[in-house]
Symmetry: C2
């Protein structure tokens, strides 16, 4: 095999497929990037068996072939080779000895047989939706923070992706809170309901260029989801099982409705959080009265007391929250003002907009009212 | 005690003295910042008993007094309080309960008796030098990388600071290499020869504003060095003992003199280093022939071969180096071209300019010529 590339084209391709290369594995071949130039195009592939990424790279095929190269070494070498527009040639012999040349620097590294590498499985392209890269990137960002980081409940490490008519919905929850984002698609599609691993969504949102004019197609099969955009496909296994019945958790009843400036609320929460160390479960107490919210934090390090102007409808209320959960939701909302809907100190608080394009549910925490 | 500050003044002062607050200590009082407003000015102090920093902060004294506050908590609170020009008030009572107020946020934390805090010792101001903050910051940066990171030889963790007439010299060495920087002072001074802890130089170079028009005065006593600049004094213990006889290690003889582009040399070394993992002692082999230098690296990961144009005087030479040591020296030299002076594959290589304002000595490493 003998190929030549412009450095920046090759580097971009490597950076994309690297997202699917596992850092630790018992199968050394998975730590490689496959360069496939068997046909008329050059494709790079990374695959950790859960998530696989394949991308086309512009370049010249001087001699067809394929080779698997250690991903870390290969990417380090290309990154360090001179200027953006330098020409890089990669040549491998029948023993997989690979020579990488650029200007007056020559690297020789040992590659592996490309046939040992697992290709990304083929899936049918009949069931799919289309949306802008920008939208997909945004709704992932606005929900992924509330997946569960630990594996004890597999379902909570993924997100529900549901299509009904022309509506796409993403949902994540971790037992303490839930995030829902809905967007309108340009067309009507048949119903879809799958659970996508959080890792897949995290990696794909790093690769998406976030451009409003570029589209991404998402294909669904029984066990897989595939994202196709630009010259790249990302394929991932789905999480099996039935997702939580989220509609049972939702409610539009409330006794107290409060609207306030998002930025000010977030800043006050950040300040209160200074007094909380990790693993320390001190609640932030919110006391809603007419036109004012008092925030109180009391911990071993000291106390904080702050007041913010609010617009309130309904009853006065004193309620406690984990400040991190409130802060996480407020941070990713783009609106200048947010509205909270609450029933009582034991029932979930909903932060949502009028059209319900976003709904953030946060469970309150108990607090000892006498100690306030 | 009751004081008021503009947020940014107080924050700047905290950031300066924080450099002397230890993160771990058996004496909790040292984890504090002392606020001293006993007289007509407000001073903040951090002190880990090796290094002490005191800085004046602009503010209003509403009631005199002093208090020691936990440094992390205090700095976190001030950092998170609103806008740059907000007014912050700090008030403490006779039980050291401290209230920090800004806009509508009120923090209450427990302080400690300021009298328990160790003041920075007083030293005589008779022996001193003056130079620009810019110069001091630069010469620290250009020598500190070659102090020894481990304590097994205390002397190697510090730098020699020597004043002779109007010349200031900084020297660091770690057993494999040595860095010397000399600068001319504006005046003649009496001779000084002290060993300053590397940690002190590292912290002071972070605080210096690096301005060519601002000066710093350095005072010397038997056991201490004190830096005074802007509204800040930094006092540090010296390392006791007699420094290495560095003049015995220097030589102006050479058999091979090579001049080349610094940037290209550095880039080639960076590339070769890709093939070296930490703790892996693979030498970079340099082969100097007429008009060309070949760089070769051979490791378990592969080989690299590169060529650079050079101007050579004297004999051909093949010599091996730890690529990190070469790279460290080349990275902090500002000149476009560098000149190497070498005797043979067993003797040190000197990188220096004509005027010897800098001298970097690097010991070569053995290599198996047969394996090249």
């Amino acid at each position: 095999m003998k190929l030549s590339f412009e450095k920046d084209h090759l580097m971009n391709g490597i950076n994309i497929v690297l997202k699917a290369v596992p850092s630790k594995t018992t199968m050394p071949i998975l730590e490689c990037i496959l360069i496939d130039a068997v046909s008329d195009e050059i494709k790079l592939t990374g695959n950790d068996m859960e998530l696989g990424i394949e991308t086309k790279v512009e370049g010249t095929i001087l001699e067809r072939g394929k080779i698997a190269l250690d991903a870390k070494l290969f990417s380090d070498i290309i990154r360090k080779l001179s200027g953006e527009n330098s020409t890089i040639t990669i040549e491998s012999d029948e023993k997989y000895n690979t020579t990488i040349t650029c200007d007056k620097a020559i690297f020789q590294i040992q590659g592996k047989d490309g046939d040992e590498f697992s290709y990304i499985p083929h899936i049918e392209r009949d069931k799919f939706i289309t949306l802008s890269q920008f939208t997909l990137k945004e709704i992932i960002r606005q929900t992924i923070f509330s997946i569960s980081p630990n594996d004890s409940n597999k379902m909570m490490t993924g997100e529900l992706m549901e299509v009904t008519g022309n509506e796409l919905k993403l949902v994540s929850l971790d037992g303490h809170r839930m995030s829902i984002r809905k967007v309108a698609l340009k067309e009507q599609y048949s119903d879809i309901k799958v659970i996508v691993p959080g890792k897949t969504l995290g990696e794909i949102s790093k690769i998406l260029n976030g451009d409003n004019d570029s589209e991404v197609q998402i294909f669904f099969s029984t066990n897989h989801i595939m994202f196709e955009f630009d010259d790249t496909i990302v394929l991932s296994r789905l999480i099996e099982g039935e997702y939580f019945r989220i509609n049972q958790m939702l409610s539009s009843d409330y006794e107290t409705k409060v609207t306030l400036n998002r930025r000010d609320f977030m800043d006050a929460i950040d300040r209160a959080s200074i007094l909380v160390r990790e693993n320390d479960k001190k609640p932030l107490i919110l006391n809603f009265t007419d036109e004012e919210m008092e925030l109180k934090m009391h911990s071993a390090f000291g106390t904080m007391d702050a007041r913010l102007a609010i617009t309130k409808f309904g009853k006065d209320l004193m309620i406690g929250f984990n400040p991190k959960f409130l802060g996480d939701a407020l941070r990713i909302i783009d609106d200048e003002e947010v509205t909270l809907y609450m029933m009582n100190p034991k029932s979930p608080c909903f932060i949502r907009d009028e059209e319900e394009t976003y709904i953030y549910l946060i469970l309150p925490v108990n607090f000892n009212a006498a100690a306030i």
